[in-house]
Amino acid sequence: MCIDEALLSSYLDGELEEPYLSQTAEHLAHCAACRARLERLKGISAILAKDELPQEEIDSARERGLEVLERKLLGQEGRKPGFFRRRIEMGLGSMITAAAGLVVVFIGGFVLFGTSPEQTSEIIPSYTVQADSQNVRFVSDQETRGLDGYSLEEILSYLDSKGYNVDISIKGIQPIE
């Protein structure tokens, strides 16, 4: 009697125990049909293995991840300055209704402004912009969440979570879009 295929699958994985292991090995030794079935199972594993992650990609990912974790959890540098975590869109609305005029939001020496849905928030030092309810929008008002549908805080905390030093990279951030 030939071997149940579930047993062959376990055999392939080295998970068979005695007495089944010896029985299976013995049967395979003189049954070409079962050997062929076993080879077919091996073939499936082999084809899945073609989609393995290369070791060097894993190694570099591990290094990157460790740097981030060390900085975030184990390092001496501690947390990032709090102002990047402030919800920047808050208060903008009331400012607009209170005085539909010049709206300038200062955050740590930078000025944030929203102009149109197409143009997303930019961070430019010492810059002012004429703003009213037409060209300043609430992040939460927007229906589609394109890049401009995310608050600066979300973008920054994303970058932060990736371990970017936001202090430095803030100058390097291109106007998004």
């Binding site: 295929e5 073609k50 989609d51 992650l53 990912a61 460790l66 184990l74 394109g146 990736k162 990279s169």
Partner: protein, 177 residues
């Protein structure tokens, strides 16, 4: 040896020992290297911040694999919409891993696409088992611990998954054995 997740030496030990397995598993659920890296990093952050004591390394490893599995499945369920912006920032700010990833798939051609299609189409209970087996390299006992099912059940699922993969890969020219 007892593992205390906030102990720096324990953390580093577990990180070095588990990273490869976690990234392989995670990558083969989400099929995106940048996302996989983020999710694995998040799992380690949780590991550290939860401040758990594990009786041994294996238990710590099972815990991490469980967390990564849940994060990866949640990511898939949340869908693409929410992550679209993050991908955008990612592609500008980092994206090296994703580029390599794409290049590899390009190089390998159809085989990887076929394999991914076949794996993705498996029902979740079979897909996770085969990913843990073939990409995570876990034995039946470990798979059982991670998923909270018996070893016998693992054996059956591995076999069923292989049968289904064989069916969907059959007739594929890339499937040579």
């Amino acid at each position: 040896m007892e593992i205390k997740s906030t102990d720096n030496d324990s953390f580093r030990l577990v990180y070095d020992k588990c990273y490869s397995v976690l990234i392989r598993i995670c990558y083969h659920v989400v099929y995106n290297m940048d996302i996989a890296e983020d999710l694995v990093q998040e799992a380690f952050e949780r590991f550290y911040l939860k401040n758990i004591t594990f009786p041994n390394e294996d238990e710590a490893r099972y815990w991490l694999i469980r967390v990564v599995r849940n994060l990866a499945l949640n990511h898939l369920r949340r869908g693409k919409r929410e992550s679209a912006m993050l991908d955008k920032v990612r592609n500008r700010a980092a994206g090296k891993a994703a580029d390599k990833d794409a290049q590899r798939i390009l190089d390998e051609g159809e085989t990887i696409k076929e394999v991914r299609k076949a794996v993705s189409e498996l029902p979740e209970n079979l897909r996770m088992v085969i990913i843990l087996k073939e990409y995570g390299g876990l034995d039946y006992k470990s798979i059982g611990k991670v998923l909270g099912i018996s070893e016998g059940n693992v054996k059956i699922r591995v076999h069923r998954a292989r049968k289904k993969l064989e069916e969907s890969l059959a007739g594929d020219e890339a499937y040579v054995y």
